[in-house]
């Protein structure tokens, strides 16, 4: 039964991710709330499942010349540095504190999404 839920949540996250809406923000709370996976573990799993999908998709996108490389290093280099630092910080934090912060983060994203939905109209 649990295995079925893991697969279903994976599929749900994948669908949302495949539609380009941030599958991770869905997968992490599904894992922690319904299957009581530890917050940090769920975060790590979400980062890891992104990798094979991104590699496959990128090979196709590069072949179709859909990737613009000009200027992106200005994002990638600071991004890599800060992600490594903040991943360390997250690993040091208590799981429950991280869970609360993540909850606020989700609400923030929801508010942002609502705003962008309204502005698009």
């Amino acid at each position: 039964m649990e295995i079925a839920l893991y697969i279903i949540f994976g599929i749900l996250g994948g669908i949302v991710g495949g539609m380009g809406m941030g599958g991770g923000t869905l997968l992490i709370p599904l894992l922690t709330i319904f299957l009581s996976v530890e917050q940090k573990v769920a975060q790590g799993i979400n980062l890891l499942v992104f990798l094979p999908m991104a590699v496959v998709a990128l090979i196709i996108h590069f072949k179709n010349k859909m990737v613009v490389t000009k200027g992106i290093w200005w994002i990638i280099i600071p991004g890599v540095l800060s992600s490594v630092g903040f991943a360390f910080l997250a690993s040091l934090l208590n799981g429950d504190v991280l869970k609360n912060l993540f909850g606020s983060y989700l609400i923030l994203i929801a508010v942002y999404e609502v705003c962008s939905l309204i502005f698009e109209k």
Partner: protein, 145 residues
Amino acid sequence: MLVYLTLVKIPSILNKNKKKQDNNYVKKFKDKLILILSGIAIGIANGFFGGGGGMICVPLLEKVLKIDNKKSHSTALAVMLPITLLSAIIYILKVSISWDIFGIVCGGFVLGGLAGAILLNKLNGKIVRFIFILIILAAGIRLLI
């Protein structure tokens, strides 16, 4: 006439050009600053919260680097891959990931990813987004209580 040209007209043209260049330079500098700061924010999202950096990345590419909507989605993957790879390595080293769970979820995720890519054209994007917002809002509140 000649005097007028050399003393007033030419310097003013030069000055105008210089001012234009200055503006351009300031704009480029500002853009780079935005890119760097957003890069840091993407790193915080992915490193600290384990995801969501792509949500910052796509509009950033569209608005600052002026990449069109479709290409900005694929380019965002290229930006997110190295950032996610490095933070994933930290999680592997510092957090004990359960690889059984990873294997099962990953299988589902790939299937779902394919389905999502196919469904993208068939489902109403706005309704799906609305459901997505409701779910993460509920999840966020649940995590805070």
